[in-house]
């Protein structure tokens, strides 16, 4: 063992010199390889994290799609009702105009002579 150790000590320096001559960036490359391995490990960890995050996002997206589909369904159902309501509301304007016109132009003139002053007196007082 001692002999082997001695050989190693004897060879190490020339081998190092030889390696340095032949491959001067060996140390740097070695360090880079270690760094690269560390980076790969970090990347794996990152990928795992991203996969977890992606799964969560996918789950949220699926939920959002479901909610959107439900909302779209409600909207599809509500839109015709809204349009119908809007039309009804707009037509109320016409109905008001027609009825006002009827009362002022036909009902009141026709019944003018029937107005009973005593009935008039009995009308409830209105706000001042």
């Amino acid at each position: 063992m001692a002999a082997t150790g001695a050989v190693k000590r004897l060879v190490r320096a020339p081998a190092k010199a030889f390696r340095k001559a032949l491959f001067p960036d060996y140390e740097v490359v070695l360090r880079d390889i270690r760094l690269a391995f560390e980076s790969v490990e970090a990347a794996h960890r990152g990928i795992a994290d991203l996969q977890v995050e992606n799964a969560a996002l996918r789950s949220r997206l699926d939920e959002a799609h479901l909610r959107l589909d439900e909302a779209q369904g409600r909207l599809d159902e509500a839109l015709p009702r809204l349009a119908e309501g809007l039309l009804e509301e707009r037509r109320l304007n016409l109905r008001i105009a027609e009825l006002t016109d009827l009362v002022t132009e036909i009902v009141l003139p026709l019944h003018d002579r029937d107005i009973d002053p005593q009935q008039l007196q009995r009308l409830a007082p209105d706000t001042l």
């Binding site: 304007n93 027609e98 009827l102 026709l110």
Partner: protein
């Protein structure tokens, strides 16, 4: 454009597309058969502008505050070159209401209609925001003048029947300016180009005889809601009677329907009869000749005049009037008028329900509930199969309405179907190719019951 020469039959004469008066016909911007000003006699344009000025004067007399101006085609042609467009078919006036709420705008429009009627004009209501004023010349229908309603709402939208909706300030519309129309000054909106672009799009400067309106849904929906449509196929029915030369040859009163004969045998002798939707008036004249006291109405104008004239000539005693059963105000006034006589009335409406749009039925039923208050019956029929259930182009609808639907709709008005009779009747005198096969119909006898309070 592709042009080609073709021969129909062996005639060497050019093919003409004319009405019975020899006035040329065109397919107008609404896809319907109509007249172009260029096809009338040379005095047409000046006569039309005279009529337009008479309308302006009548409005100014009663409403000097109301800004009235030429618009649509009567603004477009003259603003471009001082001339009325030869392919136009009428003259167009508009006004800017002082009101900003649709209900007030409509009330005012009703009042303007009364002003024109009181001034002697034949003003018909196309919608609560559109009047048509018709004229005759030498016994023939002349070109008409439209009067369109405009207002600026409280959000600053300038809404103008029948195609304009844009943000505008009042000072962009009034006070009016004068433009030259065939050599006479006529009022125009203050910023004519604003209105022309809103009406015809940015290409308005370039003449386009084939122009068709493409009105956004948002505009159509608003105007339909606020102003409705009081015409509801009236133009198509009027056109049908106007151009149906063959039908016009049948002597009036000489072709009663099976339904009229059937009715005559079921009602008291000399009964008062009111016919709704009488068309040419054959049944009304025939019933009058059988001794019934007949009054008849329809919303088509020329057949009512012809029938009234025939009644005078025949000494039949039937009275005819133009009345629009889609106009709640006119129908209620009719109900009040008839109800005031406090006599039972037979109301007769053949072929009405199949052509009558759903939107009008509450008006009709309200009218029936008033007409029958002094007793009597309404006789109405309804087809059991449809000839044309969907609206067509240039042809009015014809479709079956289930009796049970009618029964349910009548109940709130105190109307009750007392009897039903199945019948088969040939549908003639219509714009459709109905053929000679009888159409199955249901005849209803309806009475009014005083509601229990």
């Amino acid at each position: 454009m592709l042009t080609a020469t073709a021969r129909f039959g062996d005639s060497d004469q050019p093919l003409r597309f004319d009405d019975r008066h020899g006035i040329g016909l065109v397919i107008n911007k609404f896809g319907r058969i109509g007249h172009a000003l260029a096809d009338y006699d040379p005095g047409m344009v000046q006569r039309l502008l005279d009529n337009l000025d008479l309308i302006r004067a009548a409005l100014a007399e009663h409403r000097p505050d109301l800004p009235v101006y030429v618009m649509s085609g009567t603004l477009l042609g003259p603003y471009r070159d001082g001339r009325i467009m030869p392919h136009d078919d009428d003259a167009d006036l508009g006004y800017l209401s002082p009101y900003d709420h649709p209900a007030d705008v409509v009330r005012e429009a009703f009042q303007l209609g009364r002003i024109l009627r009181a001034a002697g004009f034949e003003a018909i209501r196309a919608s609560a925001g559109h009047l048509q004023v018709h004229f005759s010349h030498e016994g023939r229908p002349d070109a008409y003048v439209d009067l369109f309603t405009g207002f600026i709402d409280e959000q600053g939208w300038w809404q103008h029947t029948f195609a304009i909706r844009l943000q505008a300030r009042r000072d962009q519309v009034v006070p009016t300016i004068a433009i030259d129309v065939e050599g006479r000054p006529e009022p125009a909106p203050r910023d004519p180009e604003l209105m022309l672009e809103a009406n015809y799009g940015p290409g308005w400067k370039v003449p386009d005889p084939s122009y068709r309106f493409d009105i956004p849904r948002s505009v159509q929906d608003r105007f339909w809601g606020w102003f409705s449509d009081y015409g509801m196929d009236r133009t198509m029915w009027e056109d049908f009677y106007r151009y149906d030369i063959e039908g016009a040859r049948v002597p009036l009163g000489s072709a009663p329907s099976d339904y009229a004969r059937w009715l005559a045998g079921r009602i008291p002798a000399g009964a008062r009869v009111l016919e709704l939707g009488t068309g040419r008036g054959h049944d009304a004249l025939w019933l009058a000749a059988q001794g019934f006291d007949v009054e008849a109405l329809d919303y088509v104008r020329w057949p009512m005049r012809a029938a009234a004239e025939a009644a005078r000539e025949q000494g039949a005693g039937a009275r005819f009037r133009v009345l629009n059963l889609y106009d709640l105000r006119r129908v209620v006034a009719l109900g009040a008028e008839m109800g005031a006589r406090r006599e039972p009335l037979v109301v007769y409406a053949r072929g009405l329900l199949g052509n009558y749009w759903d939107i009008g039925r509450p008006v009709l039923l309200r009218g029936l509930s008033m007409l029958l208050r002094s007793g009597g019956q309404a006789h109405l029929d309804v087809p059991r199969s449809s000839l044309l259930p969907q609206p067509g182009t240039g042809v009015p609808m014809h479709r079956a309405v289930p009796v049970e639907t009618l029964r349910a709709e009548m109940a709130p008005y105190g109307l009750r179907i007392d009897a039903l009779h199945d019948a088969d009747e040939v549908v003639e005198d219509t714009p459709w190719e109905a053929g000679t096969d009888p159409l199955p119909t249901t005849r209803m006898v309806v009475t009014w019951q005083r509601p229990v309070r």
